[in-house]
Symmetry: C2
Subunit: 424 residues, 2 copies
């Protein structure tokens, strides 16, 4: 039932007049990248395929639809047997996308495919938005540790999906325990200001934390006075203290002072973590400061200003005939499509080529360094076996980013890193 009412009324209409059986292709793509970004990151494919396996209409759902009079009895009977029987091809997780990239192609009877619009877009718009923002943060962090800790700033289930997307995009760990359990993502977290306030003294709180979590733990030092907090932390844990965290104030200045103080106390190996309203720009601005890791919350789980990726799900082909609407400012290009990415011999990507898939024509040839971007995702009522794991998606993104021209990796607003060419 995670779907929009109009999908069911369209289904009812198409069953009524026989068009439900027409062979259709729907395509998922983004018309543009939000906020002058240079690339998008595909995420959520694994979640989508999991959700698709469960996307059925059981007795409770059918009863609710009947009670509300959403659709007629014929349609309800059809829904009772529904499971998606078509084919899905698409970009694997961790792949880059650009405006017009055919991120997903869904091919089946109209009836089967029309029902998927909301589910497909919900998953991809959310997860791609988070991953696309997170990848820029990972790029800005330049190898330093990045912890996703934004669960509290988004819906409780989005939080789990956001942790997954951020990890795919290069984050090191998440604070979210359910994401750890569901997806095997490393979790992190030690204490909040409340733990210090609970105790009679900061030293008592630190002592307990060290007793329970060991000297390798991270002590939060900014509940009262940071200089005093750091002194107390090293006094309690010794110079072998794992890390301190600073969650407020001018973190760059504070990190420099903290590094000096820690070094003077002999705690030269104690790492400095910073958190508190960081985004990709703040992370980049801290590059020259002695920061060992970042905790990022709101900005990553809300896509750093672009909480939805702008993906749409459009009918592009009916019974082999390309279709496209001609609405003002919302055109689309008809025909089932796939894509390849062209690279120089140095490995640098130069162009996203989108081409028509036709039963009677060969796809454009691949150069030595080029690759096709869509892979089969769903066949015969189930996900295709052997699809990339989350870890493999992470590695794919790492490699894809290496291939992007250097100006495409900057944080500044601009054109997409690669142009998209549509072959007729």
């Amino acid at each position: 039932m995670l779907t929009d009412r109009y999908e069911l009324t369209m289904l009812a209409g198409a069953l009524h007049d026989g068009t439900a059986a027409r062979r259709c292709s729907f395509e998922v793509f983004a018309r543009s990248l939000p906020g002058g970004r240079r690339y998008g990151v595909v995420a959520g494919i694994g979640r989508l395929l999991d959700a698709l396996a469960d996307f059925r209409f059981g007795p409770d759902e059918l009863r609710s639809l009947r009670e509300n009079g959403t659709v007629d009895e014929d349609t309800l009977a059809w829904l009772a047997d529904y499971r998606f029987r078509g084919e899905i091809d698409g970009y694997p997780e961790g792949e880059l996308y650009f405006p017009g990239s055919p991120v997903l192609s869904v091919t089946s009877d109209f009836a089967d495919a029309v029902l998927l619009e909301t589910l497909v877009l919900s998953v991809l718009n959310h997860d791609c938005a988070v991953a696309s923002a997170a990848a820029r943060m990972a790029s800005a962090a330049n190898g330093r540790r990045l912890i996703e800790m934004g669960s509290r700033r988004t819906h409780e289930e989005s939080a789990v999906a956001a942790a997954r997307a951020a990890y795919l995009a290069g984050f090191t760990a998440t604070s979210n325990l359910e994401a750890g359990r569901r997806y095997g993502i490393p979790t992190a977290g030690t204490s909040a200001h409340a733990f210090t306030l609970l105790h009679d003294t900061e030293a008592a709180a630190f002592q307990t934390q060290v007793d329970v979590l060991g000297v390798g733990t991270t002590l939060l030092v900014d509940t009262y006075d940071i200089t005093q907090g750091i002194a107390t932390a090293v006094e309690v844990a010794g110079p072998g203290l794992g890390a301190i965290r600073i969650d407020s104030g001018e973190v760059g200045v504070l990190a420099r002072q903290a590094r000096e103080q820690l070094d003077s106390l002999g705690a030269t190996g104690t790492r400095i973590l910073v958190s508190g309203d960081l985004d990709e720009y703040a992370i980049a601005a801290l590059r020259a400061d002695p920061v060992d890791g970042y905790g990022v919350g709101t900005s990553v789980v809300t896509g750093s200003g672009a909480p939805a990726a702008g993906m749409v799900y459009k009918l592009v082909e009916v019974d082999g005939r390309p279709v496209e609407k001609r609405s003002q400012n919302k055109t689309s290009i008809g025909g089932r499509k796939a894509a390849l990415r062209r690279h120089r011999s140095t490995g640098t990507a130069v162009e996203e080529v989108v081409y028509r898939v036709r039963p009677d024509a060969e796809p454009p040839a691949l150069g030595e360094h080029d690759r096709r971007l869509q892979v089969p995702l769903w066949r015969d009522g189930a996900r295709v076996p052997g699809l990339p794991t989350l870890e493999e998606g992470r590695e794919r993104l790492r490699q894809a980013l290496v291939s992007v021209p250097w100006e495409g990796l900057t944080l500044s607003r601009g054109e997409p890193a690669l142009p998209t060419t549509f072959l007729p």
Copy 2:
């Protein structure tokens, strides 16, 4: 497991040193309203209390925590018996809030309350963000019909919660079928461009839709040419056609042309719905145009630029002693607090008064038109019976907005509509 790791490590520490049993109050509040808004809308309380009833650690959760070494065996044993045994008071759904309003007060042993932080904030930050944006849209729509259709622009479960929050804030209906089933919200939706493209002609698509859904349906007229689309729509459905929808282009201009055309065809009762990237400003800008209803997607489900409400969950009292951190730029005010709202004799609200709750002192007296804002929400391990329904929350908001000074209802950026006064 919809929680952050540090809550469990703090619990482990507090159980270890005995501070777990200290009587604590945590408070949920927002330090400011996002983007120069004038008021916030409380939403999500009902969802939160539902989630709280299920917030337990079962065998699977405990196994996962043990395997990851998150906490020790004593803590796991404590978690096995956990259910929240404290008290929660807070603002009911549909109430307004302002910076510093004590939206929720959680009072219990430290151990019981510290675990709730992420769950409480996830629900309230999401739902309040959506409701606060949606209320401004409802205000701008000024009685015209508002349909929430943003499911596809947010995580699939957030979508259901967003539909609920938007309805609370004055939206008329949602496209999301699960929100209809779960919360009894009216659902709406007829067809997308895909339905027209599927058919050989626009007329064929319209004919089927009218056959199946009746002439009272809404026909989407902008797949090809709008003028032709409207002509075809009235030709097929007759002048009794329920409504047309325009989803692209300059909708104000198009609505005026459409009204003229419809009237000239005798379809004087046919309503005009518009959709496509609308937000509160676009809705307001269409006030003078012959628009009967709006479909709103991305902007409402993503909080129109503020996808998280900025609520925090702070420890404010330990064993009767107020506590507050003194971090730069993130101060809080210690002590368990409640609030009342002062009104003029005309009913206009003038001030949010936040006062300390002390066992040995009476709360400030209420004037004739004033009211206390917190109500008991959770007692004796369960939600308090008879809490307001979603419909009652909707009505509460309607009344609360009537009491706001007129300048507080404008869309322009500015100070909160009411000042917040903290009594010592």
